[in-house]
C-alpha cells in the first residue's frame, strides 16, 4: 500500500528543544550516519583482490578512462554505517506496523534460511534442465497451493510484484479480447481502488473509467452495471476492498460482467483476509494477482522485492505469458519457445527475463507448508478478528465510517472525530510515532476524508493489540480535550522531526555530488 498526500501538510512546523545539545550530534544510542561519499576516501577498500593488470587487446577500445567516483571504505566502516542507518528505521520486528493494505505480518526466519539454501539461492536461471529439477518442482508445488487456495485452474508465476501482476492479468484479458476479434478499450475501476489499478490499466493501453462507491463503502454495483457495454474489457475490483470490506454483491457483479462479455480482474492484495475460507474462483473472478509479500509474508525489505503471481480462470488460462512450466515423463520443463507450446497455449508475451521471483517463491512455500491449510485459514480468521477487535475498541472514540458492520482484515477510520480539534490525520499519525508506533495508512482510500486504515494482521498478541488500543484512545482523548501540544510538530522523539517535502520536490537533490571546490585537507 502506498501513501497519498491529499490534504496533508508537507511543510513541517518549527521544532522546539530545550535539551542540552551534544557536542557530537549523536545522542546516546541515537547515532547519526553521514553519507558514504562523505566518509570514504582513496586508498582503502572493503574487499581484497589482487591488483592485476589486464591488456586492452580485447576491450574494443572502450576501457574506462575516468574514475567512477566511488568512495573507498574498509569493511568495519561499511558495517557500522549500515548498522547505524538501520537503527533509524522502524520495522515489524520492532513493533506493531498497522499499515492498512500493506499487510505487515510476521516474516518467519525459517523462510529466510530456506531461500538461502545454495540449491535455490545459488542456482543459475539458465542452468541445464537436469540441474534445476528441484527448483521447478518447487515452483510447481507453489502453483498447486495458489490454484487450490484460489480455486482457479491456472497461475502465471513470473510477475514481480502486485502491479506487475495487474499488468499480466490485463494483458491476458487484452489478448483474450483480441482473440475474440473484439475491440474493448475501457476498464472500470472503483474510485476506492489502489493507485496501481488505474495506472496499470493505462499502462496496458486501456482507458480508465471510474465507478463511484456507495455510502456503505462498497462499489456501486448499479452504477457499475450501467457502465458495462461492448467497449468494456474488464472491471478491476479489489476484494476485500480498500475500505477493508467484503464486496457483498460480488457474485452478481461477476455475472453482469461476464454477460457483458467483459472480464473480472480482482486486485488480490487483500487475499489475506479470506485465504483458506473463500476461493476467488467461486466468486467468478477471471484473474487475480497475489502479493506473496503480503498474504504469504515474504519480507517487504523497505520497499521490495515482492512477487505477484496471477491466478487465471479457464477463460484466460491460455493467454498466460511465457515461460510455461510443464511436467512430462522425465521431469519438469520450462517452455520458452512459441513453437513448442502445449496444446491450446496462446501466451500474450513475456513479463520479464527468466521466470519470476524464485527467492520469494521459496519463502512463500515455506510459509504455506508451515501453516498448512488449517494455519492459513486460522491466520485469515485471526487477521479479521484482530481488525474487528480494534474497530470495536476504538469506534466509540474515533469515527469509523463503516463501523456498523464487521470489517475484514483492516479497520477504517476517518477524521470526523478530529473535527474542530485543530489536529489533523497527519498530526495524529505523527504523534503515534512518538508513542513508538508506525502510523496506520493515511489518506487512503480516497473515498473517505482523512482516512486512517489500520491493519493489525494476525501477528499481534491480544496484549499488543490492547496496548495499541490504549495508546490510540489516549491520543484521541487528548486531541478531543484540546491538548494539542503533543500533536503539534510531532514527532519529537524520532530520529528526525517532520521533513520538508515541499522543498525536496521543488529543488530535487537526488544524488550526492562532490563539492565543486574541494576543500584543502585539514
Amino acid at each position: 500500500m502506498s501513501m497519498n498526500n491529499q490534504g496533508r501538510p508537507s511543510q513541517p512546523g518549527v521544532a522546539q528543544d530545550n535539551d542540552i545539545p551534544t557536542i557530537s550530534g549523536d545522542r546516546g544510542l541515537d547515532l547519526e550516519a553521514r553519507l558514504i561519499f562523505e566518509i570514504g576516501r582513496d586508498g582503502v577498500t572493503g574487499v581484497d583482490f589482487p591488483d592485476i593488470a589486464v591488456s586492452d587487446a580485447r576491450l574494443g577500445g572502450l576501457r574506462r578512462k575516468a574514475k567512477v567516483g566511488l568512495p573507498g571504505l574498509s569493511e568495519p566502516e561499511v558495517i557500522r554505517h549500515y548498522v547505524r542507518l538501520s537503527r533509524q528505521n522502524y520495522a515489524i520486528d520492532a513493533g506493531l506496523y498497522p499499515l492498512g493494505s500493506c499487510t505487515m505480518k510476521h516474516n518467519p526466519r525459517l523462510n529466510e534460511k530456506m531461500a538461502r539454501l545454495p540449491g535455490f539461492g545459488d542456482l543459475h536461471p539458465l542452468a541445464p534442465r537436469a540441474a534445476t529439477q528441484g527448483a521447478l518442482a518447487l515452483i510447481s508445488d507453489l502453483m498447486t497451493w495458489l490454484t487450490t487456495l484460489t480455486g482457479m485452474p491456472a497461475v502465471a508465476m513470473s510477475p514481480k510484484a502486485g502491479a506487475h501482476g495487474e499488468l499480466c492479468g490485463l494483458l491476458a484479458i487484452r489478448a483474450a479480447v483480441e482473440a475474440r476479434g473484439e475491440k474493448r478499450l475501457r476498464i472500470l475501476v472503483p474510485e476506492s481502488a489502489h493507485g496501481t489499478n488505474p495506472a496499470t490499466a493505462a499502462f496496458a493501453g486501456f482507458i480508465v473509467d471510474e465507478v463511484p462507491a456507495k455510502p456503505n463503502g462498497r462499489v456501486d454495483a448499479a452504477a457499475l452495471k450501467a457502465k458495462l457495454g461492448p467497449d468494456v474489457a474488464a472491471i478491476m475490483l479489489t476484494n476485500p476492498n480498500t475500505c477493508g470490506l467484503f464486496e457483498d454483491e460480488i457474485i452478481g457483479i461477476a455475472k453482469a460482467v461476464h454477460e457483458a462479455g467483459a472480464y473480472f480482474y480482482c486486485d488480490g492484495a487483500n487475499f489475506n483476509a479470506i485465504a483458506g475460507r473463500v476461493r476467488p474462483g467461486d466468486l467468478g473472478i477471471d484473474a487475480m494477482h497475489i502479493n506473496l509479500h503480503k498474504t504469504f509474508s515474504t519480507p517487504h525489505g523497505g520497499g521490495g522485492p515482492g512477487a505477484g503471481p496471477v491466478v487465471l480462470s479457464e477463460r484466460l488460462a491460455a493467454y498466460a505469458p511465457l515461460p510455461l512450466l510443464v511436467a512430462d515423463t522425465d521431469g519438469f520443463r520450462l517452455v520458452e519457445d512459441r513453437e513448442q507450446l502445449p496444446d491450446g497455449a496462446k501466451p500474450f508475451g513475456r513479463m520479464c527475463a527468466f521466470h519470476g521471483q524464485m527467492g520469494m517463491f521459496v519463502r512463500a512455500l515455506s510459509y504455506m507448508l508451515s501453516h498448512g491449510r488449517d494455519g492459513v485459514r486460522q491466520a485469515s480468521e485471526d487477521a479479521v478478528l484482530s481488525a474487528n477487535y480494534i474497530l470495536a475498541s476504538l469506534k466509540d472514540i474515533m469515527s469509523a465510517p463503516f463501523g456498523d458492520g464487521p470489517c475484514m482484515h483492516e479497520a477504517l477510520f476517518d477524521d470526523t472525530f478530529l473535527e474542530g480539534t485543530g489536529v489533523t490525520t497527519l498530526d495524529f499519525a505523527k504523534a503515534m510515532i512518538d508513542e513508538g508506533y508506525h502510523p496506520m495508512t493515511m489518506y487512503f482510500p480516497l473515498v473517505v476524508h482523512g482516512a486512517m486504515l489500520i491493519e493489525p494482521t494476525e501477528s499481534e498478541s491480544k496484549e499488543s493489540l490492547d496496548r495499541f488500543i490504549a495508546v490510540l484512545r489516549g491520543l484521541a482523548e487528548e486531541a478531543k480535550a484540546g491538548k494539542r501540544q503533543r500533536f503539534e510538530g510531532a514527532p519529537r522523539y524520532a530520529p528526525r522531526r517532520r521533513l520538508d517535502e515541499t522543498a525536496a520536490a521543488r529543488k530535487p537533490v537526488l544524488r550526492w555530488k562532490p563539492d565543486p571546490l574541494p576543500q584543502a585537507a585539514e
Binding site: 592485476i52 589486464v54 572502450l62 574506462r64 575516468a66 567512477v68 567516483g69 558495517i79 538501520s86 520495522a91 510476521h106 529466510e112 531461500a115 540449491g119 539458465l126 542452468a127 534445476t132 528441484g134 498447486t144 487450490t148 514481480k160 502491479a163 506487475h164 499488468l167 494483458l171 493507485g195 499502462f203 496496458a204 480508465v208 467484503f246 460480488i250 457474485i251 473463500v278 467461486d282 466468486l283 517487504h300 525489505g301 520497499g303 500474450f348 513475456r350 527468466f354 527467492g359 507448508l369 508451515s370 491449510r373 494455519g375 478478528l385 474497530l391 470495536a392 464487521p406 475484514m408 493489540l465 530520529p495 528526525r496 522531526r497 521533513l499 520536490a505 530535487p508 537533490v509 537526488l510
Partner: protein
C-alpha cells in the same frame, strides 16, 4: 501454530468485546455459497520447522548450485562473490521487515540507503540521475522504451540484435501496445549496422553492451546517429560489473540506461529477485518511472531524506503516472549498495580486471580445443564459442560430467539458425585455474 500469537482464550475474549458470537459472524458479508470448509482444500496441514526444512532441503538438493561445481553460465545472470557482510546487513530486522519509507521520520535508514544507491547508479552508468530501482534489467529496459516513446512522442523502438532475447520479448510485450517495436538482425560476435535503421519515427534505439554474446559494443556512433534523427539511445547493461572496466554508457552518449544490478550484491536465485538500475539525463527526470529519494531538511534543520517527485507515481497520479510500479527491489538495492560500498573505486576496478583476466584466460584455453572457435573479439567476462556441433546437447553432456558449461545460444534464440552451434560462456573472479582445466578436459571429451 508458532506464528500465531492469539490463544483460544484470547479469541473468545476478543469476540466478546466485538459482540460477535463466533468468527463466522465476522465473515457475514461473504455470500454463503462462497464459503468453503478447510477440507475443501486438498493441501497439507501445519508442519514444524524440522519437517519444512526437510522438504525444502530435499528439493534444493535436486538442483546444482553454481558454487558447487565449475560453473560458467551467464547470459544475463552472473555468479560473483558477494562479501559476507552484505547478507548479514540486509538481514538486519530494520531493513528486512520495514515497509516502503512512507514515514520518513522513522525510515531514514532505508531512505539514506536509497539516496546512496541512486548516487552509485548514476556514477556507475555515467548518468545524471537514477531512480530507487525497478524490478530487474528487463523490465527497466521496457520502462526505458516507454519513457522514450513518451519523451519523443514517436512510436518506434529499434532493438539491437545483441539485446538479450528475454529483454527484447519483455519490451515487445508492453511497447507494442502503443508503439512499434522492431528488432535488428542477430549478428553473433559482430555489431550490426543499427544506425542505418533509425528514421524520423524512431523514439529510441536499444543497444546492449556487452551484448548477449559478450561482445563489447561501441555506443558512440549509435548515439550520434540517434541524436541526429531526434531519437534517444537506450543503453542496456546486463552485467553491472563490466562498468568497472568499461566506459560508461553515459560517457558514450546514452540518454537512458537500463541495467541489471544482480551482479553486485545479489545471488543468482534462479532468476529473481534481481534489481533494475535505471538512470537518465536530468532533463528527462519528470518522465522517469519509479521512486525517487531526495534530500531535504527536517523541522529542526537537520538533513534528511524523503521520497519525492511522487506526482509522477501511481499513488498520486493514478492513470496519468509514468509507470504503474509500486513495490520495487528495495532490499536488492540495499545489497547492491552495500557491496559497492565495500568495493569502492579500487575494489570495483580490481574485481572487474579480475573478471576480464579470468575470461580471457578461459577463452584462450577453450579456443585451443579442436573445432572450437572464439567469435567475440572484444568482451568483458563473457564470450561466445562456435562449436563443431549443436551447443545444447554439449551443455547437457557437460552437466552430466559435473560442469555447468555456459548457456547455449539456441536456448535464447531457438529459431535463429546461426545460434545453433554457439555457446555463451562466462567466467568471473570465482573461477579457478582448476575449474578451467576441468572445463577444457570435459569439453574435449564431449566434442571428441
Amino acid at each position: 501454530m508458532r506464528y500465531l500469537p492469539l490463544t483460544p482464550d484470547d479469541r473468545r475474549a476478543m469476540l466478546a468485546k466485538i459482540g460477535a458470537p463466533d468468527i463466522d459472524a465476522l465473515f457475514r458479508d461473504v455470500p454463503g455459497e462462497a464459503v468453503v470448509p478447510v477440507s475443501a482444500f486438498d493441501l497439507s496441514e501445519t508442519k514444524g520447522e524440522i519437517e519444512v526444512e526437510r522438504i525444502l532441503s530435499r528439493l534444493a538438493s535436486r538442483n546444482v548450485a553454481a558454487g558447487s561445481v565449475p560453473s560458467f553460465c551467464g547470459a544475463g545472470a552472473y555468479k560473483h562473490h558477494v562479501p559476507s557482510a552484505v547478507d548479514h546487513l540486509i538481514q538486519r530486522s530494520e531493513f528486512l521487515t520495514a515497509y516502503t519509507p512512507y514515514q520518513p521520520e522513522i525510515a531514514q535508514g532505508t531512505l539514506q540507503v536509497l539516496f546512496e544507491f541512486q548516487t552509485q547508479v548514476a556514477l556507475l552508468t555515467g548518468m545524471e540521475v537514477a531512480n530507487a530501482s525497478l524490478y530487474d534489467g528487463s523490465t527497466a529496459t521496457a520502462e526505458a522504451v516507454l519513457m522514450a516513446q513518451r519523451l519523443t512522442r514517436r512510436p518506434k523502438a529499434i532493438l539491437s540484435g545483441g539485446l538479450h532475447p528475454h529483454y527484447a520479448e519483455t519490451v515487445e510485450t508492453v511497447a507494442n501496445l502503443s508503439g512499434v517495436v522492431t528488432r535488428s538482425p542477430v549478428t553473433p560476435g559482430k555489431a550490426e549496422d543499427i544506425a542505418a535503421l533509425i528514421d524520423n519515427d524512431t523514439a529510441c534505439v536499444v543497444v546492449q553492451s556487452p551484448d548477449v554474446f559478450g561482445l563489447i559494443r561501441n555506443l558512440r556512433p549509435i548515439a550520434e546517429a540517434a541524436h541526429a534523427k531526434g531519437a534517444l539511445l537506450i543503453a542496456v547493461v546486463t552485467e553491472a560489473m563490466s562498468l568497472g572496466l568499461l566506459e560508461s554508457p553515459g560517457e558514450q552518449g546514452a540518454d537512458i540506461v537500463a541495467c541489471e544490478g544482480q551482479s553486485i550484491g545479489n545471488g543468482l536465485n534462479f532468476g529473481g529477485p534481481y534489481v533494475g538500475l535505471f538512470a537518465a539525463r536530468e532533463k528527462f527526470l519528470r518522465q522517469m518511472p519509479g521512486r525517487l529519494c531526495g534530500e531535504t531538511v527536517d523541522a529542526s534543520g537537520k538533513r534528511g531524506f524523503v521520497l519525492t517527485l511522487s506526482t509522477r507515481e501511481q499513488h498520486i497520479r493514478r492513470e496519468k503516472a509514468t509507470s504503474n510500479i509500486c513495490t520495487n527491489s528495495g532490499l536488492c538495492a540495499l545489497a547492491f549498495t552495500i557491496h559497492l560500498s565495500l568495493l569502492g573505486e579500487e575494489g570495483l576496478a580490481r574485481v572487474a580486471r579480475q573478471n576480464h583476466d579470468r575470461a580471457s584466460t578461459l577463452a584462450d584455453r577453450l579456443a585451443r580445443v579442436p573445432g572450437v572457435e572464439l567469435i567475440t573479439p572484444a568482451f568483458f567476462n563473457e564470450f561466445t564459442l562456435k562449436l563443431p556441433k549443436a551447443a545444447a546437447p554439449v551443455v547437457d553432456a557437460l552437466a552430466a560430467k559435473g560442469i555447468l558449461g555456459g548457456v547455449p545460444a539456441s536456448r535464447l534464440l531457438p529459431h535463429e539458425p546461426a545460434a545453433r552451434d554457439l555457446l555463451i560462456v562466462a567466467a568471473t573472479e570465482i573461477n579457478t585455474d582448476e575449474d578451467f582445466a576441468a572445463f577444457e578436459a570435459a569439453l574435449k571429451e564431449v566434442l571428441a
